[in-house]
Amino acid sequence: MSDEHAITDDTETGESDATTDGLLSITDLDAGYGDLQILSALDLAVGSGEYVSIVGPNGAGKSTVMKAIFGLATHMDGSIAFDDEGIGGLAPEEVIRRGVSYVPQNENVFAGLSVRENLEMGAYILDSVPEERLADVFERFPILEERQSQRAGTLSGGQRQMLAMGRALMLDPDLLLLDEPSAGLAPDLVDEMFDRIDAINDAGTAVLMVEQNAIEALSRCDRGYVLVQGQNRFTDSGAALLDNDEVRREFLGG
């Protein structure tokens, strides 16, 4: 019993050394689904207001990182801390309450609900709908205000992505998790989407983004991670990763 305590204490000390002023710090994380392990010994950090991208080949476990943060993957070992508080294994609503919002990749709006109802659901944990947040989201995405009584299922792909982001912004999160925000968008909309993410980050919200479109993601972010087979291969500023010959050759197609 006392031995166990000693071990836990050790790990915790180690953690706080590594994560001095990180908003989110993932240390030595093993995670997966059921018995299947996807991530192994993963370290990842996002500072306050920072914009971090995760890129890497298909099946590298990029989305699993997000699911692990949100308590949707099986937490096997290691720690996930947000604001110096462990959040590994918490229920999604508890993670949200602490200031993290998540926009999943596919089917990320409630198709049968109106646009406005979708946004209201984003603030479910509050007693009443925060009108000033709603106004803020409408200012950011005017199309959503125009279509607020329309069913979300009738929106275009780009509009759905805006609605999903708007819903995630309803609680004014400190950290926004975006899973493949450009997936399925027409090429001319991709740039617009990344501009909108820049604007969200400029307003002070830290962003952790998983992206297939690696060049775009790395050129926009402050820092990037290249994930391969559930492990961290490279970590550096986005620009440095784009300049790195090995990264270019192996993951950016030249």
């Binding site: 990320n108 049968g112 609680l171």
Partner: protein
């Protein structure tokens, strides 16, 4: 000129492709038209009186409201929990027995022993005649019974969810379905064990009614009570679903359960609320059906469940509005069909309507329109 001809040719070929691709739609349409023509000619020829058609319609609407009311609970739990609850029919019976035992104890207190009253005249002295329950003679006992039916069924559904369904929440729908069949059997024979397998009369005394001017049909107090309660409850469900935060969360969860979780909707709380609303409606339906038919039996909910499933599937399983509408359609089909076929076969008519509707629109009338 040329474009005009092409237009006609196009319309013709489109019409032909509809006939070729959807021959069943055409068949259903033809059958409907033939039946309508036959109905009118029967009315004009005098072989069917306006009065009896009016009676069929009234009975059909009453049955339809009951099926709709009971179906809403089934559809709601299906859309949010992802399995068809086969124990639903026995929730109906359970609510009815709990409610009517309460009504009997209150109505007959002092004249018949409480033990006999609780058993609803299965044994002992509490017979329908001696207790004489009706909306008019013992209104308080009826209201208390209705409330008890609602409360008891809610408690029962929550208990069964806790014991059986909650531990299986992440399992496939088929496992939950089989578990629900087990729950259904257990409940049914528990009721049979306590109340026996006879079909005692329940209501007694004369039940006043009012005549509808013009057509000459009479609506009695129990039918009116059922209709008013059912319509009131269905409107209530609509209001909750469309205008409250809980209702929106229920629709969101029916839409996409995983997304609801990551949005921060406390899904277990929503599930519980769904059982409360669904269970309450089911208990009310059980009590009101017994009030209207005047008899009760341990398996009446199970028998009714077939029609309820027909209604819910017809309306599009998972859609609450589909269940309401499907209920009315099935109710009307099983009574209006008496115009053509003997009463032993009216259930067949209800199912034929369901089958034909599904041939035309396989996802049900409201299918694809997720409304919780």
């Amino acid at each position: 000129m040329c474009t005009h001809i092409m237009g006609i040719a196009e319309t013709y070929s489109r019409g032909r492709s509809v006939v070729a691709e959807r021959p069943l739609t055409l068949l259903v349409a033809v059958v409907c038209v033939l039946l309508a023509v036959d109905l009118v000619s029967k009315l004009l020829g005098g072989s069917l009186s306006v009065l009896s058609l009016a009676v069929f319609l009234k009975d059909g609407l009453i049955l339809g409201l009951v099926i709709g009311l009971a179906g809403v609970g089934l559809s709601m739990t299906y859309s949010i929990l992802g399995f068809p609850n086969f124990a639903h029919g026995d929730y109906i019976s359970s609510g009815a027995f709990a409610g009517w035992a309460t009504t009997y104890v209150i109505a007959g207190f002092g004249t018949v022993s409480v033990g006999d009253l609780l058993l609803l005249g299965v044994s002992g002295d509490a017979s329908a005649g001696s207790v004489g329950v009706s909306v008019v003679s013992t209104p308080l006992a009826v209201v208390a019974g209705l409330v008890m039916a609602v409360v008891f069924t809610i408690a029962l559904t929550l208990l069964i969810d806790r014991l059986v369904y909650k531990p299986m929440r992440d399992q496939e729908g088929i496992s939950l379905l089989i578990a629900s069949v087990g729950v259904a059997l257990a409940l049914r024979y528990l009721i049979a064990f306590v109340f026996g397998t006879s079909r005692p009369g329940i209501t007694g005394g004369s039940i006043p009614g009012i005549a509808v001017p013009g057509v000459g049909i009479r609506i009695n107090a129990h039918e009116a009570t059922l209709a008013i309660c059912a319509i009131g409850l269905l409107v209530g469900v609509h209001v909750v679903l469309q205008y409250t935060k809980l209702g929106t969360a229920m629709r969101a969860m029916a839409d996409n359960r995983d997304l609801a979780r990551v949005t921060g909707i406390p899904t277990e709380r929503v599930v519980r609320a769904t059982w409360v609303i669904g269970g309450g409606l089911t208990g009310a339906a059980g009590y009101l059906i017994t009030l209207e038919t005047g008899t009760i039996a341990f398996d009446f909910g199970w028998v009714l469940l077939l029609l309820i499933f027909a209604a819910v599937i017809l309306g599009g399983i998972g859609s609450v509005y589909g269940a309401m509408f499907g209920g009315l359609l099935i109710g009307l089909a099983s009574t209006v069909s008496l115009v053509w076929i003997p009463s032993d076969f009216t259930t067949v008519a209800a199912f034929l309507v369901m089958i034909f509707m599904l041939l035309v629109k396989p996802s049900g009338l409201f299918g694809g329109v997720t409304t919780a």
